[in-house]
Assembly symmetry: C2
Homo-oligomer: 415 residues x 2
């Protein structure tokens, strides 16, 4: 694993993977939807997503069509997308095509054409995407859960809102790009068939002239409401819960991951076993850990029919409290460890997944973790320490509950 | 690449991948939803899916919970699922855990407990899954398109129907399992950190005693209707088209793949460019090739708002006809080739994906193809041959069109 910080602040982290022909990179830009609300911007939701689409519509020497064709001619699979914290460019290709793919990426980030006439088709596309989200209640409820659980704008959904997308002018989006696409705060994760010195030279040549900008200030507003229902005539009721968890950099991080996994992260985990296998209450149910730099949460989800929804919610809440009250047993911890280690090793065999982990490690920790380090941390976990961490779930005072569907459920009172 | 056919008909195909720690297998059983309609069975839809769930609820020496925990303790990620043609068991783990994972798989297939009391939770689960499909119109429209395009039962959706799932008795599902879970017609694809001789011995020891059964006869009924609308109060209208295509074993196979890819298989492909980028008509649009042994189709999909749906459908139909009338150009063919080769090489780096390709090659062709063979076939494609193949799209007489949403569209008349 190699790392370099360029004078303009751009960080390059990379790992050569012997025996693979592919190479992949993930470029994280500090340009997620949360920054739409930064001081001096105050833009409606959707700016980050529209910007990510705009940069692929012509850049450097190529117009929109030439740019997409050039990427296709390199056999590149690519995705430019905004999330809440970052806008990411994710590219996978054969190692020999990495350098030309990087050149096109540099054009998109440093020299996008940003022509006004492209904005209307992009706006239409983003409005269509918002409509398709209305037909995808399982995805929508998680977006809306984050919006209610994390202090605004740290839960802002990247697709934005119809009002926001409708109101944005080309100048608004240009302004967003100018303020947020910057090398200080950007991280390049690269993995696969690469040669470090050559990669370092290429990235330096292509991105070295990128000028840093000050980090925008993001005013924070309180989260909420912590109990809510979205009325929709869906077939199923969607249930989503969030509880604060230890951050990635915290000493409790591995305990937080273990607690979420034991609750609902593998096929014999508690929620699967109680809600899905034993009672057949719903087809999909899970618990997962989700981290940001300054906050994190355990999210739980289930989708089920109106007549089984109340029981499903009640069982989910009971399982969360039981985890807090009774803690975890050694055999569960061993099962969790086996799964997490195995999936880590398997994920490391994919250059795309590895490039994302490298970038994400640097973002959260400012350093890279080896698989061995993570495995050693997992081995250190003991039932006592995980149970002590999970004790916070016994009477969770800071739980956010959101349901979506035709009827409301009986929710526990806010404390 | 190695291959062996056991005396009972079971086929083992495998490839050792140097430098990886993971190993994966895909077991294809001739027990897809299409066989629910076989002579002597005549079961309602959902039997294949309920059977695939039932075998994981206790098998060999383990009850339901012990079995899932045993898989989790091996760090196995696994999925048992029915599709239209096959029921598949897909397992990924570390190479050193492959043998114990195979042992559990043999229990599930040869020695499932099939206890009556497990059927009600499974039925509830399958009914929940059908409800969640109602909230996922993009997936539903493709299931329903296949049902109308392929002669029954070759388009039967594996989730079944609420009536079918409600009516099935434990004996019905047992009967289905007994008739369709058989070694003759089953294919084991294995890839990753494996040693051929040892694998051959293990599979022989674990599955050698599995008794073959006669292949069930499947009566076929005509497809249709070829124009249809499903009324649903969704936000978007879903548009799905199917046209017959050359089968995988046909000499036209690579031409059929090329035509579908050029229409809508990569980011600068015709449908993306005309429907998505240029007009912003919809967020998702694609064309793809889908093969069965005796039939195949090119499927096209778009999801868009009511006011743009007619224009979207018209542009899709116009692009299909233009492909037939004007054929393809060399530069498009080169772009398609670059993408397909690159994605082939990248897919080969994943043991899970490779195990699936090996099994699928054997199913369709009765032999294994190397990446070099596929690349050579792609290199042989010329604009003339692909255009000659695509000429069938000029006035497509056997087009199936299905829409789903609140309003109907104006469809071209049936020829």
């Amino acid at each position: 694993m190699q790392q370099h910080t360029f004078p303009n602040g751009l960080v390059l982290v990379a790992e050569a993977m012997p025996g693979v022909q592919s190479a992949a990179f993930t470029l994280l830009l500090p340009a997620g939807a949360a920054y739409e609300g930064a001081d001096g911007l105050n833009l409606g939701g959707g700016a980050a997503t529209m910007a990510a689409e705009w940069i692929s519509r012509g850049a450097g020497p190529r117009d929109s069509r030439e740019l997409l064709t050039a990427l296709d001619n390199l056999g590149v699979s690519h995705a430019e997308s905004a999330q809440t914290l970052h806008t990411s460019l994710a590219v996978a290709t054969l190692g020999r095509n990495l350098e030309p793919a990087l050149e096109i990426c540099a054009d998109m980030v440093l020299r996008p054409h940003l022509e006004d006439h492209e904005v209307e088709p992009i706006r239409a596309l983003c409005l269509q995407n918002l409509r398709s989200l209305e037909d995808d209640p399982g995805t929508k409820v998680i977006y809306e859960l984050r919006r209610r659980h994390f202090p605004d704008p740290w839960g802002r959904p990247s697709p934005g809102t119809a009002e926001g997308v409708t109101a944005l002018t080309p100048d608004d989006i240009r302004h967003f790009l100018l303020e947020t696409y910057r090398p200080n705060g950007a991280i390049f994760g690269v993995a696969g068939a690469i040669e470090w010195q050559r990669l370092l030279d290429s990235v330096g040549r292509l991105f070295g002239g990128w000028k840093p900008r000050r980090e925008p200030k993001v005013p924070e507003r309180p989260a909420g409401p912590s109990r809510d229902h979205i009325l929709r005539e869906t077939q199923q009721i969607q249930i989503a819960l969030a509880i604060p968890a230890a951050t990635v950099a915290s000493p409790d991080y591995y305990r937080a991951r273990a607690a979420a996994a034991i609750l609902g992260g593998y096929s014999s985990a508690r929620l699967f076993s109680e809600v899905r296998e034993r009672r057949g209450l719903c087809y999909s149910v899970y618990a997962t850990y989700e981290g940001q730099l300054d906050r994190a949460a355990m999210l739980c989800y289930a989708g089920t029919s109106a007549e089984r929804a109340q029981q499903t919610l009640d069982v989910m809440l009971a399982e969360i409290k039981r985890l807090g009250r009774d803690g975890v047993a050694l055999d569960e911890l061993d099962t969790m460890r086996a799964g997490l280690k195995s999936s880590l090793i398997m994920a490391q065999e994919s250059s795309m997944s590895r490039s994302g982990s490298l970038a994400s490690d640097w973002y959260f920790l400012g350093r890279l973790r080896s698989i061995d380090e993570i495995a050693a941390e997992l081995d250190l976990l003991a039932p006592e320490t995980v149970s002590a961490y999970a004790a916070r779930f016994q009477e969770p005072s800071d739980l956010t509950i959101l349901t979506l569907g035709p009827t409301e459920l009986l929710l526990p009172a806010e404390p």
